[in-house]
Symmetry: C2
Subunit: 361 residues, 2 copies
């Protein structure tokens, strides 16, 4: 049986090995067909390994440490990361995907550097101008795939079409939906049905091969109106963070109300099954792990502040994408669309040169 190999940037995130290493150990214990390549400073990784209480020999046998002495800072410039940090844990983890030594990589490092390095090392798929970050959010109907969550601060309508195609393919591959519905995030005011870019993106989506539902509003994301929601990275990033913010505030309010008096605390104890059920359903940690789509390799971005549970979810997402053959499926489909002229290249793309170079490879 083929073993799925995941490269983990052990140094990434706010705390590094003390989160990534235990998460990797738990993952290996639960996934007997997987191997993990822990990338980073060997000393730091070994220290985190020795902190782990007891590790089964079988788990250790599927774990490999790959030395990478450099670190990419959480606010390091993309160019500096690409040019000067060729031996960083992030870069080496991505290199392992490029070389085929691992099927996917996961990093909780700086988003910009991760995206920039992944694009530089792995390159984009033919016909894709820019990669996008696709997250999975909870909805009344299960989950919803939303992109772009912040890889691009400005997008053309052609980019939005490309994002929609990639998001639909990710959803289709992982959720097993043959033709997921796609919504275009827009504003509801009857006065103005969106800005110029969303208007023309709507036209492109309508005439695409996708199962295009039409415009959706912010409320539709969590209603689960469509399987996929596409938007530009600025809007997606603000939407995601505002959602996290209000969810956190509501959780805090609930806690405060239940700890206001001894009697209320008692009631909270008595209500634990309901409160825990609620907490589990709204726990954003379980949705950690966003796909960097449009690259010639699987890269999953974890939240920088992820804890062990949360980082583990990002590893599982990488595993799922690898085992569902996402890369093969997405590459074949993108190439087909590209050949048949169904992928509209962006005239104003700043990447047109590099992507035509790629297409010619």
């Amino acid at each position: 049986m083929m073993q799925t190999k995941i490269a983990i940037d052990a140094m990434g995130g706010d705390v590094g090995p003390s989160v990534t290493v235990p998460a990797a150990l738990t993952f290996l214990a639960q996934s007997p067909d997987c191997r993990v390549l822990l990338v980073g400073r060997t000393g730091d990784i070994k220290a985190a390994l020795s902190d782990a209480r007891s590790v089964a020999r079988d788990v250790l046998s599927r774990l490999e440490i790959i030395e990478a002495p450099e670190l990419v800072g959480m606010d390091e410039d993309i160019r500096s990361a690409i040019r000067n940090k060729k031996r960083s844990s992030m870069r080496v983890a991505i290199d392992l995907v490029k070389s085929g030594d691992s099927h996917a990589c996961v990093s909780a490092g700086n988003t910009g550097a991760l995206m920039g390095t992944a694009k530089f090392v792995l390159k984009t798929l033919p016909g894709i101008d820019r990669p996008a970050i696709c997250g999975v959010l909870p909805s009344r109907k299960g989950v919803v795939y939303v992109l772009d969550l912040g890889a691009n601060a400005e997008s053309t309508s052609e980019h939005l079409l490309q994002f929609a195609i990639m998001g639909a393919m990710l959803c289709s591959a992982v959720e097993g939906k043959p033709s997921p519905t796609v919504g275009l995030l827009n504003i509801g005011s009857e006065e103005i049905k969106g800005n110029e870019i969303t208007k023309s993106a709507g036209e492109l989506l309508k005439s695409s091969h996708l199962n295009f539902y039409g415009n959706v509003e912010g409320t539709d994301i969590y209603k689960g109106t469509t399987d996929v929601v596409v938007c530009d990275g600025f809007v997606g990033n603000v939407m995601l963070k505002a959602s996290e913010g209000i969810a956190k505030m509501m959780g805090d309010f609930l806690k405060e109300e239940y700890t206001k008096s001894p009697i209320r605390k008692l009631m909270a104890l008595a209500s634990l099954p309901a409160l825990n059920g609620f907490r589990a359903r709204v726990d954003h940690r379980q949705y950690n792990g966003a796909a960097l789509l449009g690259l010639r390799g699987i890269v999953v971005k974890s939240h920088g502040s992820a804890d062990t549970f949360s980082f583990g979810r990002a590893i599982l997402r990488a595993q799922s994408e690898a085992e569902h053959g996402l890369l093969g499926k997405i590459s074949a489909e993108i190439e087909r669309l590209h050949r048949e002229g169904l992928l509209v290249p962006s005239a104003s793309s700043d990447e047109s040169e590099s992507s035509s170079k790629l297409a010619a490879e």
Copy 2:
């Protein structure tokens, strides 16, 4: 003592008089110094009045019905509303503000038509290119004023500066804060600190007279990092509706968890003080009522689906703005800034002609 007079578009919203009329009666009972002008079809308003159980004579004496036979549909085109519905409840309510017969008006009607009609009838303040919709949202520190929530789908950096000035003045007038902090809603990725418009808006805000905090992210809104958050209307609208969506979903999840079994239902009953406390704190209805800022008159927009309680909150907001002398304060300040060249007009504004005409009045 001066009576505050509020014109209410009685026909606006998803249900019209059956919500607006009882809300007006409750408002009058609680605000003995106020009068209400109920604008709409006299027959429909009288029917709703007769449905009210018992109305104090004093309340009735401060209520006036202003006949307006036409209706603006919830999805009616702005131009059609302005040109063809001169006797609509929405238009007549705004006309009453223009003529000075009322200090403010409230409508739950179609946002686009309300904004378009208000701008057409009342005109914008000198130096203001476009009005903006400013909402008040809950935050960890109290409330936060956020604009634009959807009046404009596209904004220049100069518009964002104007929005920031207006939002700060509204917050200052109503909350009594002499120099509220202003944040520019942006994305957090270190790769891209926003798009071109936010970058240049940041420069304008930095060199303005405002108490500019700097960039804020989506999470900062609900943290209450700043008193005012400024963004373009597309981003603001999506952010607001996504927040409503996730808050609704979380509320539903909590309810579902507490009704899963008879024992859990019992625990919910026992926990009512905590659960009710929570519900009250996250009840979005209490934040209903957004200010249409930048006009020569006070106009408050209610959610179209508002219930009686919620519509009542929008009336209270209009009263508060009127009684805090918002219009006088905002007009004086905008005129001062305009005179001193501190309001930067937008070169690409499609309203430059009309606003210079206004300034010359």
